[in-house]
């Protein structure tokens, strides 16, 4: 039996975070019906034993609403982070491999997308797709790729100049084999870590854009909707409407960030000592 070491610890934390997030996602999905139940005999209750997060002005249980919202957020986060990471991979590799004008055009696009303040860009794309679920997914997915694309481009450029890759080329190894044997093992960890670290941003931007009214529609149980509705009730002292849902969102984002951090430790052990 070997000693409990840092790597095992990281793996454990990674799995624990993943399990908690899965539980939240599933629980939210199951509680979807209960989140919609209105009961005016129990409206505006402060947090208590039965309603841990309190109830709103229509007597809906805030805990189930929050969990449903988080579940939706997690699913949108997975979808958008996945799409934008794939875009980043394709563009980053194309930019580095093709070079020339392709590289020029892609770099220009990266600068362009990064030049528009992020939230404004998500708003614009969401408008172009007619807001709602499609709008927010397109907005977040199509605006998060530039930084990862830049990282991947740099990585591929560096790898192509590496001595062992150049030697393999001179030895007549086919391009496909070089890509598989020499490039992929270096790119995959970068890509996976980048992918997981996209989740927090994706979720936060989804919530923000929904909060501003460019995302999910008010009927949907999203955290952004809950928080923007709570704005009208805060001044009358109903603090729990905003505090608990937001805090849960922070918790979910922290868990995603922790997952990314642990994954980085596992895939890139040298970075632990920085």
């Amino acid at each position: 039996m070997r000693r409990w070491n840092g790597r095992k610890n990281a793996l454990f934390l990674l799995c624990a975070a993943a399990v908690v997030l899965c539980v939240v996602a599933v629980a939210g999905g199951l509680l979807g019906g209960q989140a919609m139940v209105t009961d005016f005999t129990r409206k505006n209750l402060a947090p208590c034993g039965r309603f841990l997060f309190g109830t709103d002005w229509m007597g809906r249980d805030m805990l189930s609403r929050t969990l449903t919202g988080l579940s939706l957020s997690i699913r949108i986060g997975l979808l958008t982070a996945g799409v934008s990471a794939v875009i980043a991979l394709l563009l980053g590799v194309a930019s580095a491999v093709c070079g020339g004008w392709v590289d020029g055009v892609i770099s220009w696009c990266i600068d362009l997308v990064m030049g528009i303040p992020h939230i404004l860009l998500v708003m614009l794309i969401s408008l172009a797709f007619g807001k709602g679920f499609v709008g927010v997914v397109a907005g977040v997915a199509l605006s998060h790729w530039p930084s990862l694309a830049r990282v991947i481009r740099g990585e591929v450029l560096q790898l192509r100049g590496a001595v062992y890759v150049r030697t393999a080329e001179k030895l007549g190894v086919s391009r496909l084999t070089i890509a598989r044997r020499h490039l992929l093992p270096h790119l995959l960890p970068q890509f996976l870590t980048g992918l997981v670290l996209q989740f927090p941003h994706a979720i936060l931007h989804e919530a923000s854009v929904t909060f501003l009214g460019f995302g999910l529609s008010p009927e949907q149980p999203a955290i952004g909707v809950i928080l923007s509705e709570s704005m009208s009730y805060l001044t009358t002292g109903k603090w729990w409407l905003a505090v608990f849902p937001g805090l849960s969102l922070v918790l979910v984002v922290v868990l995603f960030a922790a997952m990314g951090e642990q994954l980085r430790k596992l895939l890139d052990p040298a970075s632990v000592h920085l």
Binding site: W108, D111, L112, M114, G115, I116, P117, H118, I119, L120, M123, L124, I125, L127, A128, F129, G130, K131, P200, L204, A207, S208, F211, L212, G213, F214, L227, S230, M231, L234, T235, G237, W239, A242, V243, G246, L249, V250, V253, V254, A257, L274
Partner: protein, 330 residues
């Protein structure tokens, strides 16, 4: 000197091209929108009671019938002559609306930008220099937590605590309600801008501190720091003489790159505090399909972001003689 001018000129041309791209992209996105400006602004019920001529008039006003290419070229032509068009919602020239809004937003953003820059740099340097110690752990924990917190929720919590419970600060707006514009004093403005600016500063610090910390940690591992330690220099003098100088370049990049983020944060924070700034105007323009205004705001904010990058590039040369000569050699 000639090379510096060439360098600046090239950067400026690139910036103008990028701005052109931004305006085109924003225009295309907006005109691709399936949302009908008449439906959103006039409402289904009101439209039903109107005659065909009235509807046609409104459609003309919101530019529904003009072909997109013609519309964009018309906008671009006017823009080059310095006319940004007329806001459809505010019924004022876009440049006037942006000018007014920018003025109140600028207070907020400048304050947050300076505070988050100075504080972020300080915290980052401390954390990097004392890596693994308690101070580092605390600063890292703070950054981690804050970067996972949505800015608008933080704004809501601060609003509940300071305005609702303690009653120390106003609930919203940038000036006292009902006050005459002439009677608004500087202290009134600062008082109203305090909570939004505080929110923006708190969130802005995290990113800058995290990245500065990484650079500082790299520097502390370098050979010249090892040599300085061997010579018996104290940590304090190492940080001041070797650390700060080498962290200056990345710090400049971070500081100017944070403009875009602060702008993004201000959109959210202004919405929470109903602070009449540029961000709030952008949200209203977006929700109300006010194409000229949203286009104007996008271009102006992108110009500010690109301008920040340009200044950072120019400052490199000022701060680091190596880069100055490197540019001259090309």
């Amino acid at each position: 000197m000639k090379h510096r001018l060439m360098f600046t000129g090239k950067k400026l041309i690139r910036m103008v091209l990028l701005l052109l791209g931004v305006s085109l992209a924003a225009f295309l996105l907006m005109s691709a929108s399936p949302l009908d400006p008449l439906q959103t602004n006039v409402g289904q019920a009101a439209l039903g009671t109107m005659s065909q001529e009235q509807i046609a008039k409104l459609e003309d006003y919101w530019g529904v019938n003009t072909p997109p290419v013609e519309r964009y070229l018309g906008w671009l032509g006017d823009f080059i002559r310095g006319d940004m068009g007329t806001s459809l919602l505010y019924r004022q020239p876009v440049s006037t609306v942006i000018g007014q809004r920018l003025q109140s937003s600028l207070w907020l953003m400048a304050f947050a930008w300076v505070i988050s820059g100075v504080l972020g740099l300080t915290l980052g340097v401390i954390a990097g220099a004392r890596r693994g110690k308690l101070a580092d752990k605390l600063i890292r924990g703070y950054c981690w937590l804050i970067s996972s917190t949505p800015a608008f929720w933080l704004a809501l919590v601060l609003l509940v605590i300071f305005s609702v419970w303690l009653g120390l600060f106003p609930i919203g707006l940038s000036v006292p309600i009902g006050a005459d514009a002439a009677s608004v004093t500087l202290s009134d403005r600062l008082y109203h801008a305090f909570l939004p600016a505080l929110t923006l500063s708190i969130t802005g610090v995290a990113n800058i501190a995290m990245h500065t910390r990484e650079k500082m940690a790299d520097i502390m591992e370098s050979d010249y720091v090892l040599f300085a330690k061997a010579r018996g220099e104290s940590t304090r003098s190492i940080v001041l003489r070797h650390g700060l100088r080498n962290v200056a370049l990345p710090a400049i990049t971070l500081q100017f790159a944070s403009i875009s983020e602060i702008f993004g944060g201000s959109v959210l924070v202004e919405q929470v505090f109903s602070y009449p700034g540029l961000g709030q105007a952008a949200v209203n323009a977006g929700l109300g399909s006010d194409l000229p205004l949203l286009l104007g705001i996008t271009v102006v904010s992108a110009a500010i972001v690109f301008g920040g990058n340009l200044i950072a590039d120019l400052l490199y040369g000022v701060v680091d003689p190596k880069i100055r000569r490197g540019v001259a050699r090309k």
